[in-house]
């Protein structure tokens, strides 16, 4: 199939729309996660969504995105509370708490998944596609619901932009001003879970973390302003969503999720190298320039110091 035919195919158009939305969603909320130093929280929440999805499937017996959304939401909220509880109430540090919740929830998810596969649930084929994502299975209804969720997420972010910004940069100041930071904290977590749920179908639980982290980190290289960073991150997320989808439908039998992640990684490496001011090359240039000018000025000062002054011989 050549490229033009591919673009004109209505199925592909829906899938492209879905991955574009997923990239935008996770780019927006990923910025806040990154600034709040909670990047790996997205990873833990994505893994934790698996048992939620399995339970939702076992209860409803269908693969509806709404059911999965609720299941993943409940599991994500439980995981968030568990991580908070462990770090608060015991001497276990946050990284270990994240690791524990991530692996135990994922383990339970795998148990439920294999249980579903071994027992006589009809219509269960494709549930394991949630592990690595299966963008090709998205249909127009899924994408419409994703669009709604995405719009909701962006609307909330737009509405509470100032609050989220101050909580991300200086929570103590926000507290002093009387903002309900606990509530805002929970809200950002909730939005994170929502973004994870939107992405799971296309990217899968295992790699969803990349969609939250990589666009945000890449965007951070280019700007120091939060609103530019958010716009840039959602653009990067959207571009990698579309890029990965196109790559996977051009090649044969390649999974979409990892290709989306790899597209985002390529953009990250590009930003790492070529971003003005913060990029590796820009830094090298500055260093080289500094070296040259200091050498020059040292040489100059040596010259002037050693040069015999006229009229004094």
């Amino acid at each position: 199939m050549n490229f033009l035919q591919l673009i004109q195919d209505p199925n592909t158009q829906w899938i492209l729309a879905g991955t574009l939305l997923l990239g935008i969603c996770s780019g927006v909320i990923g910025c806040f996660a990154y600034l709040r130093k909670q990047s790996l929280m997205g990873d833990a929440l994505a893994h934790a969504a698996l048992p939620g999805i399995c339970v939702a499937f076992m209860l409803t017996g269908t693969k509806s995105i709404i059911g999965f959304l609720i299941g993943a939401l409940v599991a994500g909220v439980v995981a968030t509370f568990a991580i908070g509880y462990i770090t608060r109430e015991s001497r276990i540090k946050q990284d270990a708490a994240l690791g524990i919740i991530l692996s135990v929830f994922f383990g339970i998810g795998i148990v439920l998944l294999t249980k579903i596969q071994h027992s006589s649930y009809g219509n269960q084929s494709g549930l394991d596609k949630f592990l690595f994502g299966h963008a090709a299975a998205m249909v127009s209804d899924d994408v419409k619901i994703m669009a709604l969720i995405c719009a909701f997420l962006i609307f909330i972010t737009w509405l509470l932009f100032k609050e989220f910004k101050i909580v991300s940069f200086d929570p103590n100041f926000a507290k002093g001003l009387g903002f309900p930071i606990k509530l805002l904290d929970q809200l950002i977590m909730l939005l994170l879970v929502v973004a994870v749920v939107v992405g799971i179908q296309a990217v899968g639980v295992v790699l969803m973390a990349a969609m939250l982290i990589t666009p945000a980190v890449s965007a951070r290289y280019w700007t120091n302003k939060l609103h530019y960073m958010i716009i840039l991150a959602s653009a990067i997320g959207g571009i990698s969503g579309i890029g990965g989808t196109l790559l996977s439908s051009l090649g044969n039998n390649l999974p979409t999720g990892p290709l989306i992640v790899l597209s985002a990684t390529v953009i990250f490496v590009f930003s790492l190298l070529f971003a003005p001011n913060k990029g590796v090359i820009a830094k090298m240039r500055v260093r080289y320039y500094m070296k040259k000018t200091t050498k020059h000025s040292i040489e100059n000062s040596i010259m002037t110091a050693t040069k015999p002054k006229e009229g004094q011989s």
């Binding site: 690791g99 524990i100 692996s103 148990v111 790492l272």
Partner: protein
């Protein structure tokens, strides 16, 4: 007999993971362990594609290279201004994605399917027998996992003092002339090797459960590093045996059940540990406040 082998392999995996896991938990590097366990996948696949055989030596070499590459990339990015946990997230997802793409590209040649990546194939390990020194009834995995277990024990006991000091006070270790960076990378090498060997039995992703959960559970039970390692190994063995029977009961994945049991044991410890449990702390606080109140009354 089959259940004996499965439990034995599971226990050896859990013990090898716990030994290195204790140091990861103490050094606040649990998520680096998670990253390594994901990132060795491309190493395994590339080693397989280059050598064309499933010989463990190539797998281990591939895993070590990619494990150390992961650690190096993470520290490079975090030194260049990216936040540490974001650096971890970027690096391991990229490497894991490469691994998954390679697996799907070369499915026919690699003989690894994605389920295997996720939760291993411990149930089939027992039929893969190998003859070593005339003994031919012991499965291949037992030799492999046993060897890694011994290597871990040997290295950790030989350099126990150095590892301990690096874990608790790296600055003092450096001041005493211990090559901290060398021991850091040695530990990361051990994590990579343990991960790749555990790959067959618990899969790349659940390995992180075996690395962190028993060690964190033991951390809530004792104050001494040596005791912590022994306790975490015992917990690992319980997880392996309990997980096997749970899997048998539920007809589900053995590796998943092992991690589920580990989570259960952790939850119990979190609440009921005599020294650090939530409930025992609460009781102690209450006793203290009662004592204070009676002291006030007598005054």
């Amino acid at each position: 007999m089959s259940s004996f082998w499965i439990i034995l392999i599971g226990s050896l995996v859990a013990c090898s993971c716990s030994i290195v896991g204790c140091f990861l938990v103490l050094r606040k590097m649990s998520m680096v362990g998670d990253a390594i366990s994901h990132a060795v996948l491309p190493g395994i696949v590339i080693a397989f594609l280059l050598s064309g055989s499933k010989e463990p030596i190539f797998m281990i070499a591939g895993a070590i290279i990619f494990g150390l590459l992961t650690v190096y990339l993470i520290s490079m990015f975090s030194n260049s201004g990216v936040q540490a946990d974001a650096a971890i997230g970027v690096v391991f997802t990229a490497l894991f994605a490469i691994g998954v793409v390679l697996v799907s590209l070369y499915t026919r040649q690699v003989h690894i399917d994605l389920d295997h990546v996720l939760y291993g194939e411990i149930a089939y390990a027992q039929w893969d027998l190998i003859s070593v020194a005339g003994i031919d009834f012991i499965p291949r995995s037992v030799w492999l996992v046993g060897a890694v277990f011994l290597v871990n024990i040997l290295l950790i006991t030989t350099f126990y003092k150095q590892f301990k000091l690096c874990a608790f006070d790296p600055i003092m270790a450096a001041a005493l002339g211990i090559p901290v960076v060398f021991f850091h990378y040695l530990l990361m090498t051990l994590v990579s090797v343990t991960t790749v060997i555990s790959f067959d039995s618990v899969g790349a992703i659940l390995v992180v459960g075996m690395l962190i959960v028993p060690a964190a559970t033991a951390y809530l039970l004792t104050e001494q590093l040596s005791k912590m390692i022994v306790i975490s190994c015992l917990i690992g063995i319980c997880c392996s045996a309990g997980g096997y029977y749970l899997a048998f009961l539920l007809d589900a994945s053995i590796a998943g059940c092992m991690v589920t049991i580990a989570g259960l044991l952790f939850t119990i410890t979190l609440f009921f540990s005599p020294s650090h449990g939530v409930i025992s702390k609460m009781i102690r606080r209450k006793q203290l406040s009662r004592k204070m109140a009676s002291n006030d009354a007598t005054l």
